[in-house]
C-alpha cells in the first residue's frame, strides 16, 4: 500500500471531482438558463451563466396561477400518498414479520408474486378508468401503481424481523397490550430508520411522478408540477394556453419559462434530499439484507 499512496489518492479524488462536475453541470446550466433573458437564450443558446440576467421567466410564471395550482396539487398528493404508503405498508409488514401467523406463507407469496408478474399498462388503464372511473380525480394521482408494492413491503418486513426482538413483543403481550397498540406504540417507535427510508422513497416517488398525470388526467387544474413539465416538454405552447387568460399582453418567454418550471420542480428535492440522504442510504442497505 505504501508504494504510491499519494499518487493514488490524487487520482481517486480527481475521478470523483470529474464525476461530480458531470452530475452538477446540467443543473447549473438549467438554473442559469431560467435566469437568462429570452432574447439572449434565442441568440446565444443555453450557457453556464446568464449572458443577460433576467427574471422575466419567473415573473411570467407568477403572473398566472397554474404554477401555484400545480404546486398545491403536488404537495397534497405527495403528503397524502406518503402517509398512506407508510400506514398501509407497516400494517402488512408487521404481521408478516411475526413467526406464527396462520396463512403467512400464502400471503407472503401473494405479495411476492406481484413482483414477478403483472397485467401491464393496457389492462391496468382499462380497469382504473372503466371500473373505478378514476379519470380526472385526485385519486388518479395517488392510487394507480404508486401506493405500495411488494419490494417496499418485503424491505420493511426484513427490517422488523431483524430489528424487533420477539421478547419485546412477548412482554408487551403479557402486560396485556393489544396488537394494534403494540404495532403503533412499541414497534413503530423502534423502527424510525426504516420509516424514514420508506417515507423518503415514497415522497420522492410521488413528487416525481408524471405517469399517472399523463395517463389519467386531462383537467389542467389537476396538473402536478411534473405533469406540467411533461406537457410542456412536447408542447412548448402549453403554458401559454394556460396563462393566456391573465396575461394576454405579455409575450411568453417560452425557452426560459420551460427551464424555470423545471427549476421549480426539481429544486425542492435537491434542497431537501441531502438531509434525508442518510436514511435513504441506510434503508437501501437494510433492504439489501435478505430476510
Amino acid at each position: 500500500m505504501v508504494e504510491n499512496r499519494k499518487g493514488y489518492n490524487i487520482l481517486i479524488h480527481a475521478i470523483m471531482v470529474i464525476l461530480c462536475v458531470l452530475c452538477l453541470a446540467p443543473f447549473v446550466l438549467l438554473i442559469s438558463a431560467s435566469l437568462t433573458s429570452e432574447n439572449s437564450l434565442l441568440a446565444d443558446g443555453y450557457f453556464f451563466w446568464p449572458r443577460e440576467f433576467s427574471t422575466e421567466a419567473y415573473e411570467y410564471l407568477m403572473s398566472g396561477d397554474s404554477i401555484f395550482k400545480a404546486y398545491g396539487v403536488t404537495i397534497l398528493v405527495t403528503a397524502i400518498g406518503t402517509a398512506l404508503c407508510l400506514l398501509v405498508t407497516t400494517m402488512i409488514a408487521y404481521p408478516l414479520s411475526l413467526p406464527h401467523i396462520p396463512g403467512k406463507r400464502a400471503i407472503s407469496f401473494l405479495v411476492f408474486f406481484t413482483m414477478l408478474f403483472s397485467g401491464g399498462l393496457v389492462p391496468s388503464y382499462m380497469m382504473w378508468t372503466q371500473i373505478f372511473h378514476i379519470k380526472n380525480t385526485l385519486a388518479a394521482l395517488i392510487l394507480p401503481s404508486l401506493l405500495t408494492n411488494g419490494f417496499t413491503i418485503m424491505m420493511m418486513r426484513s427490517y422488523f424481523q431483524i430489528n424487533i426482538p420477539g421478547e419485546v413483543l412477548e412482554s408487551a403481550r403479557i402486560d396485556g397490550a393489544k396488537e394494534w397498540y403494540i404495532l403503533f406504540k412499541v414497534v413503530l417507535p423502534m423502527s424510525l430508520p426504516i420509516l424514514a427510508t420508506v417515507g423518503v422513497m415514497s415522497g420522492i416517488t410521488y413528487w416525481n411522478s408524471w405517469n399517472n398525470n399523463l395517463y389519467y388526467v386531462t383537467d389542467p387544474n389537476l396538473n402536478t408540477i411534473q405533469g406540467l413539465m411533461n406537457r410542456m416538454l412536447n408542447n412548448a405552447q402549453y403554458l401559454k394556453q394556460l396563462a393566456v387568460a391573465d396575461s394576454a399582453n405579455m409575450s411568453a418567454p417560452t425557452a426560459s419559462v420551460r427551464m424555470a418550471v423545471v427549476v421549480l420542480g426539481t429544486v425542492p428535492i435537491l434542497c431537501v434530499y441531502p438531509f434525508f440522504q442518510r436514511y435513504f442510504v441506510k434503508g437501501m442497505t437494510i433492504g439489501a439484507v435478505k430476510g
Binding site: L29, F132, G265
Partner: protein
C-alpha cells in the same frame, strides 16, 4: 374434538383477527392494483371496442399477434429493449463497482459524504426534468453543444433529435449518469464489511493492487453482483419507460433506436398505434418476462442456491 380444544381453537383464531385486519388495506390494494388487471391480458386475443368492454369484445384468436409479428415492430422493440437492458446491466455494474471502490478508498469522511451526495443527485430527479436537461445540451438552435462547442470549432450544427446514430450512446450514458450513484450504495455497503486485515496481509505478501482487487474485493462483492444481475435479468423485458419516452422527445425519426416494448404499448393505448398490437405486445412482455424470472431463478438455484430468490 373436545369442547376445550374447540374453545382453544376459536380463541386462537380470535387472537389472530387483529393481524388479518392490519393486512387488509395492503392486500385489498395489491388485489386491485396488481391482480385485477391480470385477467385483462385476454384482451390480446380480442378485437377491442369501447362499447362492449374487455370481456364483451369478440375473440379474434391470434390475429393481434399475427399483426404484431408480421410487421417489423416486434423485432425492433424486442431488440431495443433487450440490448439496452444488457448494456445498462454491464456498464452499470462496472461503473457502480468502480465508484464504490473509489469512494471506499477515500479517507476523508467529509469528502466521501459530499461526493456520494452529489453523484446520487441525478437519481433523485424525475426523468421529465432529465429530458429538459438533455434538451438544453442537444437542442438544435439553442442547445449548449451546438452553440458553444460545434460553432466555435467551426463544425456544422447537429440535429440530435433527427440523427439515430447518437442515441444508443446517449441513452446508455444517461442511464449511467442517473443510476450509478444509486447502484453504488449497495456495493459500498459490502465493501465496508471487508476486514482491512486481508488487504494488509496481501500487501505484506507483495500482492499488486490488481491482485488485491481480483482476489479479495471481487469475491466479497460477488453475492451482490449476482443478486442485482438476477433482478435485472428478470426485468430485461421491461424498459425504463420514462427514459425512452421522454428523453428523445417522441421524435419519430428516432423510433428505430428508441422504441421499446413499453413505449410501443403506450402509443398503442393512447391512439398513436394499433390497440390490438399494443395489447398483444403487453401480453408478450408479461409472459416472456415471467418465464425469464422463473428460468433465471432455476439456473441460480442450480449454480449457487443461497442467491436464489425463491
Amino acid at each position: 374434538m373436545t369442547y376445550r380444544k374447540r374453545k382453544k381453537k376459536t380463541y386462537q383464531i380470535k387472537k389472530y383477527i387483529p393481524f388479518y385486519l392490519m393486512m387488509m388495506p395492503a392486500l385489498i390494494y395489491l388485489f386491485i392494483n396488481n391482480y385485477m388487471p391480470m385477467p385483462g391480458l385476454v384482451l390480446a386475443f380480442k378485437q377491442y371496442n369501447v362499447r362492449e368492454g374487455i370481456f364483451g369484445s369478440p375473440w379474434v384468436g391470434l390475429r393481434n399477434f399475427e399483426f404484431l409479428f408480421t410487421t417489423n415492430d416486434a423485432w425492433v422493440i424486442t431488440r431495443n429493449t433487450i440490448l439496452y437492458n444488457l448494456a445498462f446491466m454491464v456498464f452499470g455494474t462496472v461503473c457502480a463497482i468502480g465508484a464504490a471502490i473509489i469512494l471506499n478508498d477515500i479517507i476523508s469522511k467529509r469528502a466521501k459524504k459530499a461526493y456520494q451526495t452529489i453523484i446520487l443527485l441525478p437519481y433523485m430527479i424525475s426523468i421529465v426534468a432529465v429530458a429538459f436537461l438533455v434538451n438544453a445540451f442537444l437542442a438544435t438552435d439553442e442547445g449548449f453543444i451546438n452553440n458553444y462547442i460545434m460553432e466555435p470549432l467551426g463544425f456544422e450544427p447537429i440535429s440530435f433529435y433527427m440523427e439515430k446514430k447518437y442515441w444508443p450512446f446517449l441513452l446508455v450514458f444517461l442511464n449511467l449518469w442517473k443510476n450509478v450513484g444509486y447502484n453504488c450504495i449497495f456495493y459500498l455497503a459490502n465493501l465496508g464489511g471487508i476486514d482491512p486485515g486481508y488487504y494488509e496481509a496481501a500487501a505484506l505478501d507483495g500482492a499488486t493492487r490488481w491482485q488485491r482487487f481480483s482476489r479479495i474485493t471481487l469475491p466479497f462483492l460477488n453475492p451482490t453482483i449476482i443478486t442485482m444481475t438476477i433482478l435485472a435479468v428478470g426485468r430485461i423485458f421491461y424498459s425504463d419507460f420514462g427514459l425512452f419516452y421522454q428523453v428523445p422527445m417522441q421524435s419519430g425519426t428516432l423510433f428505430p433506436v428508441t422504441q421499446t416494448i413499453d413505449t410501443y404499448v403506450f402509443y398503442g393505448l393512447m391512439g398513436g398505434g394499433s390497440m390490438g398490437a399494443s395489447a398483444a405486445a403487453g401480453f408478450y412482455q408479461s409472459l416472456v418476462g415471467f418465464v425469464l424470472v422463473l428460468a433465471t431463478n432455476i439456473i441460480v438455484n442450480k449454480v449457487s442456491k443461497e442467491n436464489a430468490m425463491f
